[in-house]
Amino acid sequence: MTISRRTLLASTAALAAVAVTSKFALAQSNDSGTIRVLMNGGDADLLTTNNAIARFNKKFPNYKVTVDMDPISTGWGDFVTKVLAQFASNSQYDIYGTAIETFQTFASRGVFEPIDDFVAANPNYSDFAPALFEDCKYQGKTYFVPTSWNNIMIHYNRDLFDKAKVGYPKAGWTWDDFRAAAKALTVKDASGNVTQWGYEVPNQNFFVQPWFFSNGTGVLSDDWSKSNMLDPKVAESLQFLHDIIHVDGSSPIPGNDTLDNQFLAGQVAMMSRGHWVIPNIKNAKLNTDVAIPPSKVNDYTVVGFGAVGIAKGSKNPAVEALLAELSGPELEMDVAKAGGAVPGSKAAASIPEFLAFPPSANLFYQTLPHTKAVPSPANFQEVEKIFIRYYTAMMADEVSIADGCKQADAELNDSFARLKASLKS
């Protein structure tokens, strides 16, 4: 029998195709079903989620995965309310993307599955900082897998520093150094009106936390069970920020809007933000860098992070496989490339794309051991609102710092009393 060259090539190709297909068939599951996922963020987050789903569907081709995105435009409080309403009406998603601010609220209500066995069985997570997983626990059980995080650093405009002949921040710089720099970087016109602010005193709970942590204190007790507003160090931190505004005139009074746009326009020299502003800074082609927030008694800053978890009653091998993809090494690489946050995986945070900008990008991961999680008790939604209400009033000089701390303390403790009563019932 004569075999033509064409037949030989065709047969070889067919055999190769069969071999490849059967190899995939071995790795594929025949199970079928639908998995509903609710993630948060914008287009970049949707893209990384869809990439993860595409990888999942290679292993589980008969599963249909639907994704909804919540932009969290009105804060985590509204997100919690929405999610709890979904559970109450039995219309919950199978997998949720959420953040540390919500962990205790959800876990205390038992609406998420404990996933200690899943985490222990997944070797990818050995590369994650253990501190992140510690914060995913409630009463000793793990409920979430961290995917990305943000710690608050001081972003500063190097061109404005150069222009004012102020030296760049160095490791170990102090509150006094910071205050002197902010003052020197504040520019006024002939009429005395400020045209460039040295610093933006933050207007959000997350951004302002380093000013308490670096003073060895916090708004809440270390176990997040009661107010710590009467600690004189809290008042000292608030007074420091207040004086930057009202004594030095180096910052505007924190209002409703953040000054990101003014920073990008070169009208603000320093601001406290996480890694999420880096893509915008790159787009604006600003010559900026990051520094560890200045220290008073230590150099601690705050960390907050996103995570994924499985809704109560939805745990099965397919959902676990999708959860693994939504927190797997490929997704971590996507997060590192997008630059909207620091990836949970150290390997992903070490890739050149991630470290290319800003010059001190390595500080983001390097400072992780010197971070404390944003205080997120089960009544976080109330706590944040109470604190920020008094904080803005104190910064606007509408209430004295002593009175503001006292009143905030009373309200925070009332909230904790209500929380304890509801958890008991």
């Binding site: 109450a88 016109d189 008094y390």
Partner: protein, 299 residues
């Protein structure tokens, strides 16, 4: 005397059935989307509601919390003073604009002015608030012009003294055009014969306004005041977008408080109790306005 009951004709009963059938969709919508939520809100106001941790009756505790909370007084006062100033501003400026435009002028100019003043009404309050938020920033356009005139910059939204007037000013800019249109329609209904007679008698324009125009349009003015009051008492988005109720509680309205407590802090029972109180306040204020109107509304 024998009383004979009138027999129900087939035609009448089938007409009644048809009537009920036609009314059913509207009634069903009313029950589902208006009456049921009201009833549920009242029920929730007496409860602690948390489907996961367990719900239970708390009697009047939610109301006690509202009435004894020192913040409630401030929030209540914010709502009232916003209502007072916004209603006064909207109705009076709307009336002044209507009087200014209710005169002979070229058609195109008349339509131009009417459109110019009415245009803000058709723009969503959220968009208007975002744009005005930029105007009001410390380095916004208002402070830019103040600086140009060598005047000190003003903390429009970050000072408790200025924040509420700033919000009211924006509200009047946005809504007064609506009242202007209503008043123009009312002014065109004032009989020309009476007005001409008054002019011939030598009555001054000021006296004509107070003695003829205002009494004649008083039902419309009353409607405008009630309508503006109900809207102002429920003010939410403009304040939320401009100040989120701050600084501190300086501009927090009852509506914002309800949403924050019920949906932001998951205190649904407490939020419902504040909503019930707010509804009662609106009812009382509207009732008072009705009583006053009986004395003042002429026609």
């Amino acid at each position: 005397m024998t009383v004979i009951a009138a027999p129900t004709s087939d035609l009448r009963s089938s007409q009644a059935r048809a009537g009920y059938l036609f009314a059913f969709p509207a009634l069903a919508l009313y029950f589902v989307f208006v009456l049921a939520p009201v009833v549920v809100t009242v029920i929730l106001s007496f409860a602690y509601y948390d489907p996961q941790l367990g719900s239970h009756w708390v009697g009047l505790d939610n109301f006690k919390r509202f009435f004894f909370d020192f913040r409630s007084k401030q929030i209540f006062w914010n709502t009232l003073r916003f209502t007072l100033f916004a209603v006064t501003g909207n109705v009076s400026v709307g009336l002044l604009l209507a009087l200014a435009l209710n005169r002979a002028m070229p058609g195109w100019l008349l339509y131009f002015f009417r459109l110019a003043f009415f245009l803000p009404v058709i723009i969503a309050a959220a968009f208007v608030s975002i744009v005005w938020g930029y105007f009001y920033q410390d380095n916004g356009i208002f402070n830019y012009y103040l600086r140009t005139l060598d005047l000190p910059a003003v903390h429009w939204l970050t000072s408790a003294a200025n924040a509420m007037p700033s919000i009211v000013f924006m509200d009047v800019w946005k809504n007064t055009g609506f009242f202007m249109i209503i008043f123009i329609a009312a002014l065109q209904g004032v009989p020309r014969t009476i007005m001409e007679a008054a002019i011939m008698d030598g009555t001054s324009p000021w006296r004509r306004f107070w003695r003829i125009t205002l009494p004649w349009i008083s039902p419309v003015v009353f409607f405008a005041i009630v309508y503006a009051s109900i809207g102002a008492l429920q003010v939410y988005e403009s304040i939320y977008i401009l100040t989120k109720g701050g600084p501190g509680d300086a501009t927090r309205s009852m509506s914002i408080n309800i949403v924050e407590e019920a949906f932001g802090s998951f205190q649904i029972g407490y939020g419902a109790s504040v909503a019930v109180v707010m509804t009662l306040v609106i009812l009382v204020i509207t009732g008072v306005q009705l009583v006053i109107s009986r004395r003042l509304v002429r026609y």
